[in-house]
């Protein structure tokens, strides 16, 4: 009886581990897509309406999906709190917190970090160039992430479960 319960636990644990890995593969393109559309919204706000970052970011946070919205909400909050943070500091700080719970890879994060260095620092034309560049880079990353997702999501889901079964059989 104990053996059966133990075996089941091993299979479930291993299945969950596989699912966790597969989820990060599946989540990355979703987040990247959200960030790309967020940057496009931000570009529109900045180029056409010259909306200050605080308002523009709050607006973006309302319009993009979870989880990316939480990042933009955080940056807007830091800027709105008037604690003397520059846009760069607020952006980097929020990105640091966001990256802990995100499926984004180091490459994706470094694109966003690079954008943060220039955000709000120049005229509209220049801002638009930076935002477009970052969006293009994220699109390239997304193409790769989608490819990796189609390959790996199912693989890791099965591998988790089957790996668990193999362990259980070996132990029996």
């Amino acid at each position: 009886m104990f053996k059966l319960i133990g075996g089941l636990l091993v299979v479930v644990a291993s299945g969950l581990a596989g699912w966790q890995v597969s989820r990060s593969y599946a989540g990355r393109p979703v987040e990247l897509r959200q960030f790309i559309s967020a940057l496009q919204l931000l570009e529109t706000e900045i180029t056409y309406a010259a909306t200050p970052l605080y308002e523009a970011l709050s607006g973006v946070a309302e319009q993009v999906g979870v989880p990316a919205a939480s990042f933009f909400r955080q940056v807007a909050f830091e800027l709105g709190a008037h604690r003397g943070y520059s846009a760069r500091e607020a952006w980097h700080g929020a990105l640091e917190v966001y990256s802990r719970r995100s499926a984004l890879g180091p490459g994706d994060l470094s694109i966003l970090r690079g954008l943060g260095n220039n955000l709000g620092m120049s005229d509209r034309e220049d801002q638009s160039k930076h935002l477009r560049l970052a969006a293009e880079q994220l699109k390239t990353a997304m193409a790769m992430a989608e490819e990796a997702a189609t390959k790996n999501v199912k693989l890791w889901n099965y591998m988790g479960l089957l790996g668990g079964l193999v362990i259980v059989l070996a132990l029996y």
């Binding site: 900045i46 010259a50 909306t51 200050p52 970052l53 605080y54 523009a56 800027l79 008037h82 003397g84 943070y85 520059s86 846009a87 607020a90 955000l119 709000g120 620092m121 120049s122 005229d123 509209r124 220049d126 801002q127």
Partner: protein
Amino acid sequence: MNKYLITKPVLHASAEPIQCPAGGWRQIAAVLPSNLADLIARVTPRYLNGLEEIRLRRDRPLMLGLGGSDYFLRQDGTPVSEPDGAYLVDAADLEKVLHNISGSSLYALEEELKNGYVTLPGGHRVGLTGKAVLENGRVKTLKYLSGLNIRVCREIKGAANGLIKHLIEHQAQNVYHTVIFSPPRCGKTTLLRDLVRQVSNGLPGMQFAGRTVGVVDERSEIAGCHRGVPQMDVGVRTDVLDGCPKAQGMMMLLRAMSPDVIVTDEIGSMEDIHALEEVFNAGVRVIVTIHASSLRELANRPALKYLLQLNVVERFVLLGRSRGVGTVEKIFSSADLPGLGVKMCLS
């Protein structure tokens, strides 16, 4: 000349005290980096209440305009008249001020950078200098900003108390076409702002009902608009067109807002005068200010000479500093124009 009426120095004999020294400082402290705000806050309140401007120049001493004189500020917050030992403003200080002013969004200040100044909440103004970037021979923007001048806005309610009765035409229940002129820094705009407020609100004591006033505030000085909302009391019947070129703005107000009085600051170009002509012809009263130290000087400028020749303006008010900023030195009527024989305007 001394037979012309000279009223009391209105800014100093104002009915109500100066409005916003403490509040004004708080609003300005909000855009300063904390080290600078703390330093300036150490200045004794007696001086701080007379704060007129804060000048930040990169790698040069921090300077305060206090009660009409310049002072440098030591590390411990003591104002001194010699720059030795004064706090030196560095690039990071300037950058932080710009971040705070723009909400970390320099691109939102493009128009302001082009004009060289930004209006803060509360109507305070920040003048900017740096390197101009040109496009087709015109300033496109400023970069490498290296000098900031934060001018504290002082709204003085009652500044026009001594003057207003001379500008009201009781029969028509309206104001005379008025030109206020003076050399710079004599309180033209402060006086104009209070005139706008009083004409707009009406003067029950003088049986004068308020009139709709349209203000074209090209340099955001009269109403001190921040994002289009007047930060100063310009009266209940006042519409403000902020940041709009004067000539265009007057036409827009005339067509759209049906004002009884149109007010604008510092006219001078022929285009402005032609727009004024339209306003005169529409039966709308006009109050404007002009930079000039005498009527003769005014008449020497071609555009203004043309304005005088139209012979529409009924009151010319000369401001000076003989008894403090904002002293109304003389009030001329249209019949007092130079070379036309002198007549007492008011007795």
